[in-house]
């Protein structure tokens, strides 16, 4: 197992180098002049030249990449052209908001997706099964931002039950930063109202981000459960007189969970990507909006830094998924 993890980590390193090179080339080959954006509309040619020199944009491409990688080895992702602040520090500022949102979405996805899939399989061919399949198709068919807007219209505008903008309501101060997760930080600081406010602010964006995953998980859970429920060991469990809930949730679901875990692992990366749209719709100050702004501004260090961190997270999620799969089915280790 240890060797396997080491091998995966080495592969992850290679992926990161490849990814950084690819993004570096893509961002630098496209004709763009970030110096103009940094210097402003009124900057003279002399100022523009100075800014290009300061940003290192006047050097040959290979030298820029070499310098970038040399700094990267030391954990330095460079400085943002936009804000002039270290990229790593900025990413660490924005990342917790995205992770918190993604985790909320994961909770919704697991509860709703697996729940619907199990119900659908257990009540196969009945109303609840049809309903679940409709939800699955609808979840996969519509874009994330559409769900976001619909949720806003219903739960914020029409009913007034849930908030839409940002991580906290107006007039609610941010808790002292420890982990960067407002829910956790507020609890640690004993600010119960703030914690509650943060939780409520997670509901609509979290739901919106989870729709597609819910749809996919519900379908995969349903088919996997149907297969499991028809196996001999389920019949044996029932004939032993075990309660139906135990038969379904322990015997059938556990054996059906391997494809669910694999698909869910793949979806986690997509959740991260989907966060960009959700963050825009719900004014969520996460890494998605930060990266989007960087692309708009040709902020090369931020774009590459974001790609490196995102690939790293994606690779780690994949590794974690594999480890869970091994735990569920030790035969896979072979």
């Amino acid at each position: 197992m240890g060797l396997l993890i080491l091998r995966r980590l080495a592969f992850m390193l290679l992926t990161l180098v490849g990814m950084s090179l690819f993004i570096f080339l893509v961002t630098h080959v496209v004709p763009q002049d970030p110096a103009r954006l940094v210097a402003g509309d009124y900057a003279t040619r002399a100022t523009l030249e100075k800014v290009r020199r300061d940003l290192g944009l006047d050097r040959p491409l290979w030298e820029q990449y070499y310098l970038y990688m040399r700094a990267l080895v030391r954990g330095d992702l460079g400085r943002s052209f936009m804000s002039n602040k270290p990229v790593l520090r900025e990413i660490l500022t924005f990342l917790p908001a995205t992770i918190e949102l993604s985790l909320a979405s994961v909770v919704f996805s697991l509860v709703l997706g697996i729940g619907l899939g199990v119900l659908s399989a257990v009540h196969c061919g009945r109303v609840i099964d049809h309903l679940s399949r409709v939800i699955s198709v609808a979840g996969a068919a519509m874009p994330i931002f559409w769900y976001g807007l619909m949720l806003q219209l219903v739960f914020y505008r029409r009913l007034g039950w849930l908030p839409v903008g940002g991580r906290l309501g107006p007039g609610v101060p941010a808790p002292p930063s420890i982990t960067g997760f407002y829910t956790v930080d507020a609890l640690l600081a004993g600010h119960w109202t703030t914690a509650w406010n943060a939780v409520v602010h997670l509901i609509l964006p979290g739901l919106s981000l989870s729709f597609l995953t819910v749809a996919i998980l519900a379908r995969i859970t349903r088919s996997s459960m149907l297969e499991s429920l028809s196996q001999d060991y389920v019949r044996t469990a029932r004939s032993k007189g075990l309660p139906e809930r135990r038969v379904v949730m322990v015997h059938a679901l556990r054996n059906a969970s391997l494809p669910i875990v694999t698909v869910f692992g793949l979806r986690l990366g997509a959740v991260f990507a989907g966060a960009v749209l959700t963050e825009a719709v719900f004014a969520w100050p996460g890494i998605g909006t930060y990266a989007y702004k960087a692309i708009e501004f040709s902020d090369f260090p931020v774009i590459i830094g974001f790609a490196v961190i995102a690939s790293m997270l994606y690779a780690m999620v994949n590794l974690f998924t594999d480890l869970v799969s091994f735990a569920l089915d030790p035969r896979l280790k072979r």
Binding site: L37, T44, T193
Partner: protein, 524 residues
Amino acid sequence: MRRWVTVLGALVAGLGLLTAWPAAIGAPARDTFNFATITKVASLDPHRITSGWDQYLLAYVYDVLVGRKRGSSEPEPRLAVSWRVSPNAKVYTVRLRQGVKFHDGSDFTAEAVKFSIERAQHFKVGAGWVLEDVERFEIVDPFTVRFTLKQPNALFLSWLDSLFIVSPSHVKKNERRPGDYAADWYADNANGTGPYRVTQRIPGDKVFLEKYEGYWGGWQAKHFRRIVQWEISEATTQRLMLERGELDAIRLFSSDDVRAMKRNPDLVIHETPSTNQFYIRLNMAAGPTTDARVRKALAYAFDYRLFYQIEDAFGPSDGPCVSEFMGGWKPSGLINELNMARARQLLQEAGVGPFRMTFLYPTGVEWERRAAEIWQSNLRQLGIILDIRTQTWPTMFAKLVAWKDTRDPATMENSYGQLWGVRYADAHAYLNFMYRSDAIGGAGRNMMYYNNPEVDRLIDQATWLPSLKARIEVYKKVCQMIADEAPDIFVGRVMMRLPMRKDVRGFYFDKLDWRIPFHHMWRE
């Protein structure tokens, strides 16, 4: 028994939720003005910001030496109380206000001005352009400073409206390394002499401002105590939050949104023409648009009225520059209505047959796309095929600038969309940056290669004239020459609009920029 415990637990949790729920979406405090901006704040550093939106916020945190009177380009004392300009407009002696304190309690003196100049010159970017002409700066006494310029520049006072003043002691105290001018600290924090101080910035989310009791301009009783700027990039979200009262004003909305909001009795839409204009710039260096008759034909083929109907944030253009800076004057012969017969006639006179041309606009700017589509349908009737293309602004900008050197037919663009606003209140801010030959690939937006030595000479001449009246006379000549040559299609002038909650009082548009005058506003 277990079931009853579960039911009871659920009831208690439900009641808890019901009592805590309203707090999550409650209305903001009445002494707080919440508004959503149009872009993300990149930095709060007064000497590094390049976005006008950031500048409008910082204008109430920092102060400048010389501002301008409300709705006018006439200079107004701010941290300066008076000034003397030498007859050749090269030496500016400025007397400073006494008794002004920065938010941290440090004193404002001539040293602060000197230090702010050094800091802006060190970064070069942002407000650095203001000081391009400064040859020497001297402190005459603790409350008098003198600028000596490299060349006569009658506009220098209006340029000073972009130079914010910082406290030297505070900057030095917050430096990470000696001489770094506390760039890191000032990116997220602020310390000025303006009516509000920054209490917190949550990057990508909000900036919190609080009333500065020691503001030198003084306070009347009921103004907003706190200002919160939200960064919300989705127009629908901004509108929903405004309608529910979580926000007091929003910056991002479509024409459809405005029409709907006008029907809402709780809202008011403030509007007035801005100094921003939209131009379709035509290639003056290559292709069919080098012929003035073709350019005019293309201008006659644009349906201005239809565009204003679809995009009601636009009204008729004043030509190369807005009339407010020209004493109300507009050039004659401006093309501002559809006339297909005249367009055909001009093309015939030019001997130009059917041709293909391109129009480039920045990705995401939907009203530019719509303008191009309106134009495209009319051009088709003239046998001209318009290829509408889009690229991100940085890519588009780099491409147009690079073409001036390569002149490669394969990468040539025939036209592109340009929105231009001004940072200082003078016609020079249009003419110098849009039409001067220096601005080809340099400062400004002369990216369709307009080059007229006489226009260059007149713009230079105007820069040296201390009298505004005399300058306007020169500007008139320049504008008329440009209008006659028709290097652009002067599509329209942007309306400034700001949807706001009706109970907010004291708001006014300054006409010349998009600031929200927080320190004059209150809630009824």
